[in-house]
């Protein structure tokens, strides 16, 4: 399965298992979503379980809060992460705080799915990576898969999780992996082991990172599309890097990070998002706090530039092979 099919499969599995799972969002019903993630759900489970929503991200999240309060498990789609902001107040002020402010009387077991990230010539409003705007909000879990297998397993775990999960999907790798070389062919998902996705129920637990590539010289901490770019960069540049695919940003798998950093002593943090105040800053801060005496070089960050994502400059903006190479060299030289 490619990543879209895996996500679609997670929906089907969970809607069949749990009658309280309801799916809605813009264009998700009859049509099955602009990326086809919800294709076939309305036909299979009926209009009361999967339906189109008005173009109102605030209303989508706001009504989902009410549904969760009733006892349902809303699994909602925000069409692009760039359009999540009209729903931001409901997410930050309501979804994230409900369990806390009611001392557990009301909980918000919902999943807010949204395609994010660049690499598709989507310009500034179809390319954003706003995960740091959610990792700063206590009460939310933030999950970002990088393979079809993980996407399905993490999404099922997120649906079953008692807490609200913001689930960002790297749209660049929905239909095939992407190593950052936009001008060279990639092995399609179908030929990759991470795309061997069972049809049935399984989970990939939240809060556990994955070692995407083992290595001894340097630790790359990343997630989403950048996992593939980082692995390719390590290989292309002959750096024996250990690439950690976080999978869950909050709560973070700090143990895996610490173990790797203590082994390598060198760290590169890679994110697609704009650099300043991105989640990479938190990672760099944590690593130097907790592994200071193991570090042989400063923790280096690779990130998107602190500008909006400019349409024509897709590849000058995207943190691609060249940026990775220079950063790997820098960390190894320091």
């Amino acid at each position: 399965m490619n990543m879209i099919e895996a996500i679609n499969s997670a929906h089907k599995v969970m809607m069949a298992r749990d009658p309280d799972v309801v799916v809605f969002g813009e264009d998700v019903g009859y049509f099955g979503g602009v990326f086809r993630a919800t294709a076939g759900l309305q036909e299979q489970f009926g209009k009361q379980r999967c339906f189109d929503a008005p173009i109102s991200e605030g209303g989508i999240v706001g009504t989902a809060v009410g549904m969760a309060a009733y006892g349902l498990k809303p699994l909602i789609e925000i069409q692009f992460a760039d359009y999540i902001y009209p729903g931001y107040d409901q997410i930050v002020s309501e979804v994230a705080r409900m369990r806390y402010r009611t001392a557990g009387e009301w909980t918000m077991p919902m999943v807010i799915r949204s395609p994010y990230g660049g690499g598709i010539f989507g310009g500034q409003t179809h390319s954003q990576s706003p995960e740091a705007l959610f990792t700063h909000v206590a009460g939310l879990k933030v999950v970002i898969p990088s393979t079809p297998y993980d996407a399905k397993g993490l999404l099922i775990a997120a649906i079953e999780d008692p807490d609200p999960v913001v689930f960002f999907e790297p749209k660049r790798i929905y239909n095939g992996p992407f190593d950052g070389h936009h001008d060279r062919p990639v092995t399609p998902w179908a030929k990759r082991p991470e795309a061997q996705v069972p049809d049935d129920y399984y989970t990939v637990p939240l809060g556990q990172a994955r070692i995407a590539r083992e290595g001894a010289e340097l630790t790359v901490i990343t997630y989403g599309t950048m996992v593939h770019v980082a692995v390719a960069a390590a290989e292309d540049n002959g750096v024996d890097a250990e690439v950690i695919d976080l999978r869950t940003l909050v709560p973070l798998d700090i143990k895996t990070i610490e173990a790797s950093v203590k082994k390598t002593g060198r760290v590169l943090v890679v994110q697609e998002a704009t650099r300043t105040s991105g989640f990479g800053a938190e990672l760099a801060a944590l690593v130097q706090e907790r592994c200071f005496y193991h570090l042989e070089a400063p923790v280096e960050r690779v990130a998107g530039w602190d500008t909006p994502y400019p349409h024509a400059y897709e590849w000058a903006y995207f943190p691609g092979p060249k940026r990775l190479k220079m950063a790997l060299e820098k960390v190894m030289a320091d």
Binding site: P54, G59, A69, D89, E105
Partner: protein, 422 residues
Amino acid sequence: MSEADPQTRRNAPALSLHVPEPAFRPGDTPDFSSIPVPPAGAAPRPDTAAPARETFPLTDALVRVLDEDGRAVGPWDPKLDPDTLRKMLKDMVTVRVFDDRMYRAQRQGKTSFYMKCTGEEAIAVAAAAATHRDDMHFPTYRQQGLLVSRGYPLTDMMCQIYSNRGDKLQGRQLPIMYSDKPHGFFSISGNLGTQYPQAVGWAMASAIKGDSRIAMGWIGDGATAEGDFHSAMTFAAVYTAPVILAVVNNQWAISSFSGIAGAEKSTFAARAVGYGVAGLRVDGNDALAVYAAVQWAAERARANAGPTLIEFFTYRAEGHSTSDDPTGYRPAGEAQQWPLGDPIARLRQHLTALGEWDDERHDALVKEADLAVRAAQKEAEKLGILPEQGRENIQSMFEDVYAEVPWHIAEQRDQCLKEAGL
């Protein structure tokens, strides 16, 4: 010419910005005779399954049942039995006494903050009476009447206000931000408006499940300007959600009058019709009218005939909260001039007119309420007042952010306990 210079090259008249202004400011003598008060009984009562557009005239009218002599008249008379009426009166009196005592408690430094609903007691109390016990309310901070009507213990309310050991919310919320699922009272948010689409979502869930319970959402006149109001109306209309959406128009936000929320140009009830939602404008100081309107809307919702927006026309008789002094922006004594009178006095007059009430019984009721509130306060204060809080059970602060405490919060908890010398 700077960019912001007006373009005067056309011989067109100059535009100017209109900024609404309330009729009276401090120093003025309030006179509300320009507010139209239609006679009780005049508004027609459409069928509860009528098309929304048919309610258009009612969004500009005022559903009133109690006339000047305290008689219930017209098609909206809910014909309640005296026991129900007395129960409502008792609840309203209790709310008022409760408010007075808690206001005083705040002034005495026993807590940080308090908000009264003086003058608006009929609205929440009658709405509670007209909805089923298992319908779900999504209130703002002025619907304490819902809890009182549904028998939520006064002591529990006070413990929340004191953020004390008895506070089921563990001291996490500002005073009066109650929450109680068993009493059908959703957690109050500090963020205005958010509960409105939530009420719609709950109602949608009830419909998805083939349930028969309905939801009722609450909002203030000022907060109708938030985008959440629009989300709620849109989703309610689109999915024919079984929900009642109440706007408590008490004429004021904090210092802004309802004209700043749009009331100068239209009524809040009139918003309904544009969405294809039924709309009613109701005398909020008339407990019977409130009851009747909510009953109408509930019947409509339960029959899958769609949502209703109800504007309750009332007046915020006191300050916005203990942090507010309204004499800074409106004349003192406006409440006394309010043409729709006091809701408690009007219900009392009605019961008296029915021969089901008298001064003696009323005095006894007030005394009883006072005693009950005092007793509850005593109980609550045994469990502590705010200034004593924040030292015990510090680790509770780190719970319920998530179902389980993740490592980073556990580390912070341990650090905090160390800080506290624990």
